[in-house]
């Protein structure tokens, strides 16, 4: 075949193609400094928000005991609670789905532990393990229904919000004729698994700090001589473990890549061989796991399970995740950001109390933070991803 003699409409075009030098840098792209590059990350909004919130409360409430050891523990516990459910909600949201049943799941899981462990009198470890199994199975069912029917997870999990809450009220009323079941702390006494959720760590160390006078000690009453903060609650330990686990899973493993891809564009991910359905169902199960961790820590701390526990927690989790820079439609976000969102949430909620601000104003504050964070995050995300 003689190429040059071919009667070609596009002969010149072809020659141009051959000589086309594609390796010229695009003159329309500005060089960016490495400092700017390292700063532009999904968590940036959360980092800025955290700094701003702490500055505000150091000014407003530094003399109120908010930053004493007891105050720090107070808002740390509240933040850790948010963090536990935010990690699950964050990974699920990045995978492109929602779970509105988190709050009801918290109430339901707590109630199951109480019924199994107190009413039925089973060993606490068995009650906890069975509750985890049931709740994770419900999470899987949530995911399975979403995948099979193709319905938005918003609707499916909204249905479970009501179903689970209904059972949470119905079960104790039918079995015990009341909506609060107590006696969990006594039932969990000496139980190894109960301790994993209800104990405190480093109690000796805190006693030592108290003895040294670094943290204040009770001066009167039955606990005189004990430090006011006598250890790190397992709740906080769980929060930190889950945040670390979620962050590593998302950014450092191939499964994390699949989470991003499933939420970013499920069809394209399938074309590339990503098991999208499996990823999504596993994330629903992980969200249920996080809700159950929250519930178990809570019933161990309170010593009781109530039918109204966990109310509105699903929205608080989603708010923390969104403050942390995740995209509501999936495919983008950061666990560290979600954890910072939870921290902001907890510090603001408790900080306003310390500062003596009328508690109803908390909602105003929260709304403003949410709005500001979302606007900032949208701007940052556009810088990173080139969306228009």
């Amino acid at each position: 075949m003689n190429k040059s003699s071919a009667p070609f409409l596009c002969k010149d075009y072809r020659v141009n193609l051959m000589n086309n030098k594609l390796s010229i840098p695009d003159e329309r792209v500005k060089e960016m400094s490495t400092f700017r590059n390292s700063l532009i990350r999904p968590e940036l909004g959360g980092i800025i928000g955290t700094i701003v919130v702490f500055i505000i409360f150091i000014i407003l409430a530094s003399d109120s005991g908010m930053f004493s050891s007891q105050g720090v523990l107070n808002w740390s516990i509240v933040s850790a609670q948010f963090m536990i459910i935010a990690v699950g909600a964050c990974l699920l949201m990045i995978a492109g789905e929602f779970d509105l049943s988190v709050g009801s799941m918290i109430g339901f899981a707590g109630m199951l532990i109480a019924i199994f462990g107190v009413t039925f009198g089973w060993p606490m470890w068995m009650a906890i393990l069975l509750t985890f199994a049931i709740c994770i199975a419900i999470g899987a069912l949530n995911g399975f229904i979403c995948i099979r029917t193709g319905l938005p997870s918003f609707i499916v999990t909204l249905a479970f919000l009501f179903i689970l809450r209904g059972f949470t009220i119905f079960l104790p009323q039918t079995i015990e004729r009341k909506t609060i079941i107590g006696g969990i702390r006594e039932a969990a006494e000496g139980d190894w698994l109960g301790a994993v959720f209800g104990e405190k760590l480093f109690m000796g160390f805190f006693q030592y700090l108290g003895d040294l006078g670094i943290i204040s000690v009770f001066s009167r009453g039955t606990r005189a001589g004990e430090p006011v903060v006598n250890g790190i609650p397992m709740l906080i330990v769980w929060a930190l473990i889950l945040v670390a686990f979620g962050h590593i899973l998302l950014t450092k493993t191939r499964f994390g890549n699949w989470i991003f891809a499933s939420g970013g564009d499920a069809e394209a991910a399938r074309n590339s061989g990503v098991p999208v359905n499996k990823v999504k169902i596993l994330m629903f199960m992980f969200t249920a796991f996080c809700a159950t961790v929250f519930a178990t820590c809570q019933v161990m701390e309170f010593g009781s399970a109530g039918a109204d526990r966990g109310l509105l927690k699903e929205f608080e989790a989603i708010i923390a995740v969104v403050i942390g820079g995740a995209l509501l439609t999936g495919g983008y976000g950061s666990v560290i950001g979600a954890a910072l969102g939870a921290l902001i949430f907890g510090v603001v909620q408790q900080g306003l109390f310390f500062a003596g601000v009328e508690s109803s104003l908390f909602r105003v504050f929260l709304g403003l933070i949410l709005l500001g964070a979302v606007i900032l995050n949208t701007y940052i995300r556009r810088l990173i991803t080139g969306e228009r």
Partner: protein, 264 residues
Amino acid sequence: MNSQATVTPIIEMRNIRKHYGPVIALAGVSIKIYPGECHCLLGDNGAGKSTFIKAMSGVVKPTQGDIFVNGEQKFFNNPRDAMQAGIATVHQHLAMIPLMSVSRNFFLGNEPTKKIAGIQFYDRKHADSKTMEAMSKMGINLRGPDQAVGTLSGGERQTVAISRAVHFGARVLILDEPTSALGVRQTSNVLATIDKVRNEGVAVVFITHNVRHALAVGDRFTVLNRGQTHGTAMRGDITPEDLQNLMAGGQELATLEGSLGGTV
């Protein structure tokens, strides 16, 4: 000139028929594709191009007809079977995830891993360096491997998708209208990519309804019309006007062309 007659086609589709209920989408189409060639599959809307490449990539099963890969008969039950036989499809829109970085997209589904303390971790360093290498080979300048695909142009995205398919061992690359939504410059980039890939010995099946784009890179041309093929023409054996007319089925376009000055 006829050296190709002695070479086994890398993929041969023989007498492929596909019926969707009462609709006959393909009425017996045969095609041979050789390594290192760019085989253009032309046809107007509804000609059966999409059905044909779906049969080739395992998305649909033909009602009748045989598929041979390297002379060996194959039955594709799903896209994974076709992928294993070295047949990769690059879709126009469903190729890349815009919010993810280039290197994460590049290795999506084939992530390299390394073991740290017995646990498998995503080997980011390896992925990043391989991606940068592949991209510079294709002439795309990235700010960095973590640049999001959303910041790339449409042509660059196609190029990333093509080089990804080739990197992971595609021997037949099916490009489904890669240039139909692109501007002139981006189109020329994609065509240049096709040329580079072809020179590496990969067979490219280039689906298009733009005769100019086909003629710019094509070695052989097969025109589909109403589920049938009018045979395969070698480069140089056919004029652009003939191709155009074959695609449109003759008549209607002839009068149009006069008023448009022959530049459809």
